[in-house]
Symmetry: C2
Subunit: 228 residues, 2 copies
Amino acid sequence: MTATKPPPAAPERMRRRATSKRALVTAGKLLDAAERLFAERGYDGASVRDIAAAAGAQIASVSFHHGGKEALFEKVIERRASELAELRIAALGKARTNGGPLTLEAVLSAFVRPYLDKAADDAQWLAYARLVAMVSADRRWRHISQRLFDPTAGIFIDEIAALFPGAKRGAIAVTFVFSVSAMLSVSTSRWRIEELADAAPDQVTDMDALADPLIRYCAAGIRAAVSV
Amino acid sequence: MTATKPPPAAPERMRRRATSKRALVTAGKLLDAAERLFAERGYDGASVRDIAAAAGAQIASVSFHHGGKEALFEKVIERRASELAELRIAALGKARTNGGPLTLEAVLSAFVRPYLDKAADDAQWLAYARLVAMVSADRRWRHISQRLFDPTAGIFIDEIAALFPGAKRGAIAVTFVFSVSAMLSVSTSRWRIEELADAAPDQVTDMDALADPLIRYCAAGIRAAVSV
DNA sequence: CCTAATATTGAACGATCGTTCTAATTAAGG
DNA sequence: CCTTAATTAGAACGATCGTTCAATATTAGG
């Protein structure tokens, strides 16, 4: 489900011919450019003109292929959301079959590592990671969070809740949101870390190197906050 | 230093008369309106026209009193930054004189509580709290973070570092950024917590009620992540 | 109470925004 | 290869953006 939805733009309308290969390329380049520019400048800061130019396409092609700016934004988020969700569920399953009972660290790792790993070695995914942080922190995109992020989050909250039979689900949800925020900060605030640590880039701050401390941080935090 | 800077807009220019009382009110109402609208819609999403209208002022007054949109944004951030910083430093001092050695929880409390307390009982401060989250996560406002936030952050990182003589400062900075992100999520993502906990507003989610779990969460996280 | 500096008003500026339209070009289906 | 649906090209739309300006109203300072 990484490709565009069924055919391009208009949801309703009889198509008498298949979408041409060139058109698919154009639609895809628009998604890539939008992903980069939205992540760099925000939704309002990135113009349809700049996105089209960055994709080497016409302005009108945004409306034609994706149905307008807002629809384009949602498609950008949608494109990788299910892949990320599947990677997380798969990692969770793998952790479960690795013998023994699930640890909190293993559950968090299944949630965090796919996100950080993808962002670490793919600039396009890094842009997407920043967009996820943007959507997650903005009420305006509430409906996107609900539809694309919350189901997976719910699964992981349940998984953690199973590890703390005494704790209230609400208390766990709180610590989970704290943990998600900490995770998102890795993609939005590496610059901040570097400055506060007065460290050279890639010294403290390589994305892979941050996964371990992050998971230990979140796990200990959750344990401390949910125990009555 | 909660009031506006020396005289209004233009930094250089001989003033032969004091700023009128009415003008100070106008300039202040613009700051308040800007604080609310920037927090609600983001920098690019809030227009100078809407800000002026919300303040009951003329469009031109933004340029006249504050020197343009971007300068207005920086003044909004600047206005409460030093008060917040002073509250934090004061809380730190108070914790120190409360006898005995400083605990990690006490240091974090001194950082977190002024922020959450102000935001809890003042809608205008809540808007400001969201703006702080916005600035902290966006490279675009890097220079604001550096000038207004990083000095205080540095003090608290040093304070924490003193509690972990073996740990590297960089590792502590990382966990501090995690903690700040978790704190900021309280002002940006209460809606998210409510939805994931399927709880009624103000049930799990009262801002004051979140301070305690947050501090325990951060303290345990930092301990776990900085111990070699 | 004057008067000159300051502030508000209301309109207008050029630039850029997202969308839409028509004509020309491309390529899928037979 | 033809036909025609799909796509691209390029221009133009009205709306809104941030800023500026001249005229009017207000008010601090003497």
